[in-house]
């Protein structure tokens, strides 16, 4: 039986268990005897008893299966392979697997008995697991049914099981984050073993080409990340310069002035901007905005490089507008009507009310929105890669081409790379910096927003 059929069977058992549990519970009711919980709770309890143990077993089985089989097979490999150990064994094992799976690999007479053994193991393994899983399901079903009694606190039991399930789900998310973070930390630490932290954070030359072979000349690699930080900062600032005023003003218009009809068209239209893939913005920036800027610059006698920070920043700003406007719109709407009434009641006009009461009241929330937008801008890659170039210039001129942290991470990792070269590891160090900066920004933004919430609750 394949895995998916097994799952299907368990799902069917789940329904059967639920129905019969609930029915059984109802039959327990006699005059003078009342159930502790609703019949549905008894049904759920039996269903959980039926399904959870086999599912857990399948999970463990899936995790342990491969290592156990490998261990068994390794013992069967020819003696000289075993003697070489490590990589050679795993190479031989994968060949065995391929052969057993019928893949188009040249047969190897030495491995033939091992292949046979594997096929045998696999069929026994699947028989065994299916039988055990089904047996466990039926046992759980029987056990659950037998436990049913009017006094059984089924509601509480079901609820605590559900709580554990919910906890496990959130645990998966947290563990994933921790896993990613620790891998980034580890690789970054390896990098800092080769390149001093100080040189990385404060060096002004970025040229990550390193010699692949010892006899290669030149290019020892230089990992001063300041040009990347500066480029990131400049592009993000240009973007915020566009996105904050426009986003804020459109939020004010939408929440305070627009009629419901206008709002019902304008708000979705604005949110469409958020749905455009960034790569589309990227080629818009590179193929439309950059040439326009270049020819405009030529008209007034300015030299604009064909890949410029300005083009990337402008387009990124447009991309972020809906982000700023929809978050600000929410916080402005959350300002209590009573405050507006108070201001109107004193004879203030609408614009006075907005400027002097609504905006100050919403300010913490707006600041939070802007900070989230900044962290979005810092993390944006595609537009910059396409429109701002790859050259790590350290410049304050927005008409020059610059590069950012995210773009460099991409360029460091595309193509064939050694996993432990300084060049590859540098990407992790950059990633760590990026992660820390956005983490701090998001944390501060959340705190600010939270404080704002407390003010009106």
């Amino acid at each position: 039986m394949t895995f998916s059929i097994l799952l299907l069977v368990i799902a069917v058992l789940f329904v059967i268990a639920y129905v019969s549990g609930a029915r059984r519970a109802r039959s327990l009711v006699t005059p003078g005897v009342t159930l502790n919980s609703l019949p549905g709770h008894y049904g759920s309890l039996v269903a959980l008893w039926t399904c959870l143990p086999p599912l857990l077993l399948m999970l463990c089985w899936g995790v342990l299966e491969t290592p156990v089989i490998d261990r068994l097979l390794a013992a069967q490999l020819p003696a000289e392979v075993q003697a070489e150990g490590g990589n050679r064994i795993s190479l031989a094992l994968s060949k065995v697997r391929n052969l057993a799976g019928g893949a188009n690999v040249q047969a190897d007479p030495e491995l033939a008995p091992v292949v046979l053994h594997l096929k045998d193991l696999q069929s026994r393994n699947s028989m065994l697991s299916t039988t055990l899983v089904l047996a466990l399901a039926l046992a759980g079903f029987g056990f659950g049914l037998r436990r049913l009694a009017p006094a059984l606190r089924a509601r509480n039991e079901v609820e605590s099981i559900v709580k554990v399930l919910l906890f496990c789900s959130s645990g998966v998310a947290v563990l994933t984050t921790v896993g990613i973070l620790s891998s980034v930390l580890y690789e970054a630490w390896m990098f800092f073993g080769r390149v001093p932290v100080f040189d990385f954070l404060f060096g002004t030359t970025w040229s990550p080409q390193v010699a692949l072979r010892a006899d290669q000349s030149g290019s020892s690699g230089s990992f001063g990340a300041v040009p990347l930080f500066a480029g990131t900062l400049m592009i993000s600032m240009i973007a915020m310069f566009i996105a904050v005023p426009i986003g804020l003003m459109s939020a004010i218009y939408l929440s305070e002035y627009a009629t419901p009809r206008v709002r019902s068209y304008a708000k979705p239209a604005l949110e469409v901007l958020a749905g455009i893939p960034t790569v589309v913005y990227g080629f818009f920036a590179a193929l439309t905005v950059a040439p326009i800027l270049k020819s405009l610059g030529a008209d007034i006698g300015l030299e604009v490089s064909s890949e410029s920070a300005l083009a990337a920043g402008l387009v990124m700003g447009v991309m972020i507008i809906p982000f700023v406007s929809s978050l600000s719109d929410d916080v402005i709407n959350a300002v209590p009507q009573a405050l507006r009434d108070g201001s109107y009641g004193l004879g203030a006009t609408q614009s006075e009310t907005i400027r002097q009461v609504v905006i100050p009241a919403a300010l913490p929330g707006i600041v939070g929105a802007v900070m989230l937008a900044v962290s979005r801008a810092i993390g944006e890659t595609m537009i910059v890669a396409m429109a701002a170039g790859l050259a790590a210039n350290l410049t304050a001129n927005p008409l020059d081409s610059v590069t950012t942290v995210t773009v460099q991470i991409v360029t460091l990792l595309v193509g064939d790379q050694e996993f432990d070269s300084s060049k590859t590891l540098a990407a992790f160090a950059l990633g760590l910096v990026l992660f820390l900066v956005t983490l701090i920004l998001n944390y501060v933004a959340l705190k600010v927003v939270q404080k704002y919430r407390e003010q009106y609750d």
Partner: protein, 267 residues
């Protein structure tokens, strides 16, 4: 209890020296009529209490008196309201100076998220009433004194107004209203969110303010109406049923509905 056809208000809806005059006022929210043909005088330097069961239109009527209903899109008003014999709904009237003349205090204290000083200074600033900082400081102090809050906040004018207690916040809102020197103050259940001590303080204040201002107060508490007002108007389902001197309303109500309400048969 349904709407009474062509009900004529019992008692004395008119008075000798009216500050505000409502004549045949009707209010609609969309298609739904909330106020029916109300005619009422509010005399100069008197406190008039508007009472009646929830949803009978007290707030709606009060909000007509300084055109606060303009902020509600679906709200439409018929009839006329005269402030010193001038129609406040006439096209040439600007609501900004109108609302400076007819101020409003709301049910829930709603200080702005600004300092105590800036809360009170808000009105004078937007109306350009002052040219110098010391004039502004004088107005703020005067208003806070009249609202009976000065001694409690004089040392922390820079603290946020939202940090005061509920009763203090409501007095701050009254001070804020007084600061633009209105002629009429409308109060919509100003004590309903306050404890008895803060309530007593505000009632005292209303009594003091009567010397300088005309006050219309909506209240759910009949004791409060009896304590602070000279005349009482009883509303029922959008109609003005009875208007009489307060002691008369509470001792000898003229209309059966008024009697039912004040004896607590519905409310």
């Amino acid at each position: 209890m349904s709407i009474i056809e062509n009900h004529q208000t019992d008692g004395e809806p008119f008075c000798d020296s009216p500050k505000l005059k409502a004549r045949g006022v009707g209010v609609f929210y969309g298609d739904k009529q909330a106020i029916f043909d109300v005619s009422l005088d509010i005399g100069a330097n008197e406190v008039i209490a508007l009472i009646g069961p929830s949803g009978c239109g007290k707030s709606t009527f009060l909000r007509c008196l300084n055109r606060m209903n303009d902020t509600i899109d679906i709200c439409r008003i018929t009839g006329e309201i005269l402030l010193d014999d001038e129609d406040i709904y006439a096209p040439k009237i600007d609501v900004v100076p109108l609302r400076a003349r007819v101020g409003m205090v709301f049910q829930k204290p709603n200080p702005f998220p600004k300092t105590i000083f800036d809360n009170v200074a808000y009105g004078p600033r937007i109306h350009g009433l002052v040219n110098h900082r010391h004039e502004l400081e004088e107005i703020v102090e005067q208003s806070l004194r009249r609202a009976g809050l000065w001694s409690e906040v004089k040392d922390r004018l820079d603290a946020p107004g939202t940090g005061l207690s509920g009763g203090q916040q409501q007095r701050l809102c009254i001070a804020r209203t007084i600061a633009v020197d209105p002629e009429v103050i409308l109060m919509d259940e100003p004590c309903s969110a306050l404890d008895p001590i803060a309530t007593a303080r505000i009632e005292e204040l209303i009594d003091e303010l009567r010397d300088n201002y005309t006050i219309a107060i909506v209240t759910h508490s009949m004791q409060q109406a009896a304590r602070v007002s000279q005349r009482t108007a009883y509303f029922h389902l959008g109609q003005l049923i009875e208007v009489n001197p307060t002691d008369l309303v509470f001792t000898k109500p003229q209309h059966a509905l008024t009697e039912a309400y004040i004896t607590g048969r519905f409310g």
